[in-house]
Symmetry: C2
Subunit: 686 residues, 2 copies
Amino acid sequence: MPDFTDNLKPAHDGTQILEAERNGSPLSVQELSKHLLSRNDFLNRQARILEIVEKEPLMSKKNLLNLARPDRYHLGLARAKLIRRLALKHDWNKEDADMAEYLVDEMSPYHLHLSMFVTTVREQGSEEQKAHWMPQILNYDIIGCYAQTELGHGSNVRGLECQAKYDPTTKEFIIHSPTLTASKWWNGTMGRTATHAIIVAQLMLPDSTGNYVSHGPHPFVVQIRNKETHLPLDGIVVGDIGPKYGYTSMDNGYMLLDNHRVPHSAMLARYSHVDPNTGAFSRTGHQAVVYGSLTNVRATIIMHARLILARAVTIAVRYSTIRRQFHDRDDSKQAGPEMTVLDYPTVQIRILPLVATTFALHYTGEAMFNMYTSTRSNIEKGDFSGLAELHGVSSGLKSLCTTIAANGIETCRRALGGHGFGGGSGLININNDYLSKPTVEGDNWMITQQTARYLIKKMESVVAKPDAPAKDGTDALFKQYLKTRNTYKPKELVINGQYIDKAMMEAFEWRAADLTYRAYEARVVQKKGWTSLLVQLHRLSNAYSESFLVSNFHRALVHSSLSQAAQRVMRDMYRLFALSTMDADARTFQSCNAASSGSLDQLPDTIQQLMLQIRPHAVKVVDAWSIPDYVLDSALGRYDGKVYEDLYDRAHRQNPLNRVTFNVDWRSDEIVKGSNDGGKDILAKL
Amino acid sequence: MPDFTDNLKPAHDGTQILEAERNGSPLSVQELSKHLLSRNDFLNRQARILEIVEKEPLMSKKNLLNLARPDRYHLGLARAKLIRRLALKHDWNKEDADMAEYLVDEMSPYHLHLSMFVTTVREQGSEEQKAHWMPQILNYDIIGCYAQTELGHGSNVRGLECQAKYDPTTKEFIIHSPTLTASKWWNGTMGRTATHAIIVAQLMLPDSTGNYVSHGPHPFVVQIRNKETHLPLDGIVVGDIGPKYGYTSMDNGYMLLDNHRVPHSAMLARYSHVDPNTGAFSRTGHQAVVYGSLTNVRATIIMHARLILARAVTIAVRYSTIRRQFHDRDDSKQAGPEMTVLDYPTVQIRILPLVATTFALHYTGEAMFNMYTSTRSNIEKGDFSGLAELHGVSSGLKSLCTTIAANGIETCRRALGGHGFGGGSGLININNDYLSKPTVEGDNWMITQQTARYLIKKMESVVAKPDAPAKDGTDALFKQYLKTRNTYKPKELVINGQYIDKAMMEAFEWRAADLTYRAYEARVVQKKGWTSLLVQLHRLSNAYSESFLVSNFHRALVHSSLSQAAQRVMRDMYRLFALSTMDADARTFQSCNAASSGSLDQLPDTIQQLMLQIRPHAVKVVDAWSIPDYVLDSALGRYDGKVYEDLYDRAHRQNPLNRVTFNVDWRSDEIVKGSNDGGKDILAKL
């Protein structure tokens, strides 16, 4: 319905403002975009898939926040089917389909089928098993999920309670949940969708005296629902666990099994074998390859973290250049247009270091992929020596990078003022979904132990043989540290107004080495209890991971082929990332003599100066991340700057609540005006 | 439907575990509860109202996370009516009704009516206006809201765009929204509920030449909807702004007015007056009382923050004592029950300092109320001298305390592992709702300027007259600082294993004074630009507010009449709060010589030792906050420890998604099995 608001304009024009911002910087967005997003043909793929997906009415982002959670699953399933059909129609490969899911920005109820389910069958199934299952999987004749985590056990896989007891008389495994906490829990795709599951259960086999003993958790392929009725098979209770923080479209499930019998062939047998007649257990081959792929997953997590953070800073930077608030307090006139919000240092300090962080994450994600590729190819040649480092490094990085991104989204959101709390911010969904990341794929406080353990071991070997040739970067660093620890001088980070980029990196490396040495002393020399050291070890892992981020960033700068304009901004980004990270833990840098006290004193001013230098390029820098408006789904972050028009449109023209008039008189039982509902409608939904 | 899972038990019994925890500490929960919750008869009131509210089917907490947002408003309105009826039936006063809303844990669509709407009429209306409006308000014949914030302006009230132009010929004000950004926005109760609004608009009056000039924002009482049809009046466009982060039950609104005429009597006239005939403007009286009530609001915010944080730590502590994970790494057997999660220092360090923080917030909330009461009574006697301090202190505290609580909820949630992400955590709703607090009632990065300005002014006057008698605590501190700044010795915080409680407090005070002096030098002596100092000033405000929290906590200990057992635990809580706060900004404490470098080096160990001492009392300490299970609405945080039983019940017996079977075959258009819906149902909802 037309009304007098149709022709109203906002007091200032966001489109013009962003145009002026873009004209004010010499950066080439295209150059930077290509630099950042060429791996695996990302940019072209994004454009190609976006064009198809965006047109589909079912893929509309409108009104999602108004849907009930059961409807979000309903929608998710419809979209999953559509993506499958589009994939066949347009001959999409796996990466194309993944791109579609990324653009729709919602975890598909089929998600586990083509990730953990197929991966596990492929990596852990025997040739015979693969021949049996793979065609059904790839054709989506069955839908699979991965049932490892339980109500009572997540990280501690060895503690799983679900059992698979072998019965040699019938040649069957009896899969059983002996307790409530043995219930499978959280497993995606399992709640309402899957027909089959990989069930990870304690393999129980009779010993020589006939007593059953556990041989640890093993994977079994089990049909869980009837293919016709889609109802659970007898002896299986399975369902969706209900609403959670995010992932509204995904059916995370629970499942219990009551002495459910499956054939001997159910156990995936590439690396483990149970003799069908005797129940004797044997292992074959080396499972290390599996850990290798874990690292690949973690590299992907880091690359994803950078895009998620890029989305948040894109919204924050664009809106903060359009938004106006107050006059400068020292402006005696207090007239004219109010100040651009992004010109306040208190806004810059929250957003611009995170812009810099997107690049830090990027270069380390790239480095991780390269490290993974080379380690993997060594493994194929039988050389497993790189695995320990890869695993040690990737654990700490997964922890640090997902924590940075999760906190970063929220920091950006709060920097948007009131509208950051609104549905038009575009940050509600990613915040809700992303908050799972610090916990899944290894809890961020748990897995840092692995990095710390790796570092302490490494230091121990370096102390034992300080003169042996260095095997890798960390080795070389620790040797250097041991040699110079009594003569090392705290680094000056800025000399005569010149930033000493290399010194910043070296300060981070020194802190990491020093904290490793302290942890080595506490654990190896003083033999302190591991548990009592956990907080210290967590900090060590973070410090090492930060040093890794800084070094990779620095290395990328040194080898960069960017134009001078881009290079200049990226150098400032590096400095801003390094120095603001340093400022957050300045006392450690001081107490281990990594950086000079004077340099540390100067950090706040140096950081503020860097932000001033970066500020004019902020809009173009976030443009370079090329996040489509369709993905942003944000009134505040639109490329064209029509912030207020879009906010108003969502409220006035899209909100279904405004199509109903209410009876607000407390004396009346009626809730919706004219319905005479007596309030009973809503009571029925509780 | 009964099934084999009905009789399953979890692997370990949460009820027994919590019982053992409670038996293991000599603390009296009752003593502590009374100590904390006696103000305004809180404990008794909670018990009395809970008994009534909990029984009402409409107040059930089941399934809320499954409801669509429009249904949440629908439900909210039904509940608002019910609370009004219960209030009449049980003769509840305002505090009782507020308690009901707190227990239901959902902002009522009537909320603004009995808060900002009635308060503004009462405080700013003339006697005649009050006589006209108050009976209608108190009888709920009209429902009011408060329309100040606009699409383009929040904190900067002077920048509001909505205009109220006086037309002397008709003796009317013409209320008008000249732009889109002039739209009222965010105003609670306005979207679908209110019949009337206080509209804050620029008062435009003709000057001597007939040109209209603004006399700043003023409040007008305006009817916005027809009392019969509940439709907006002509020339008014009003609606709900749509989904946002939290507050699903509240109809935050937008409103634009098209040259809408209201009578002269619409302007609230206690302090301002427009001559009906000439349009001449005059002020009467002192508005300072209004700022006084702002402080009362802020004291309430702090007291609320402590209860919100108490809720989060209650859930975190109870669940972490029940949850088991891994064996101690140094336990060579790796057998027997796994370790209690709360025994890991990495879990303690996230949860226990926040437990201590609930008490820090408590004592400062109490102090703020007392400060407010005495300042208010001085104001009544015409003495406005206390206002500046009250306002200065309360701004920084609002900022710091709401940030602490908002971050604290999320820290607790992440410390819960996977189940923290689930709906059974009980933390999703409070997190979503509470995330508004760092922004509303003064943005947390904006209002710290007010505290900094107060402190710099105070330092300036102390520097000018160092020997004048001290007027208040801050005055005395700054004088002391100036006298001793060249001879002051950094504090030792622990001497021979003894905690020096007073030294901790003094270190905080010293840092606050020193940072104030640096800000004074930068601004007053070196005349640096205000905007360029904003980050520094924000940190100053936080440091001062932290010092205020520590001092109030220390004062409460010194004057405490608690039993020895309680006193001992509270002393450790004080130390843990002070030292973990110090550890987070250790370098500043060092660089301003507030605490000795040796003490600062020892902080991590000292903190870990304190946590060990507190650990056995953790469950009873959180019990003392007396948060009812009905409020917690948390499987993880239940008083009786039946964590897994409750999680399973929510999933298996309550989740509506499990009542439907889906057609998951991508070849079929059907979504719900047997419905032949063709997927069109969900498309219609987009």
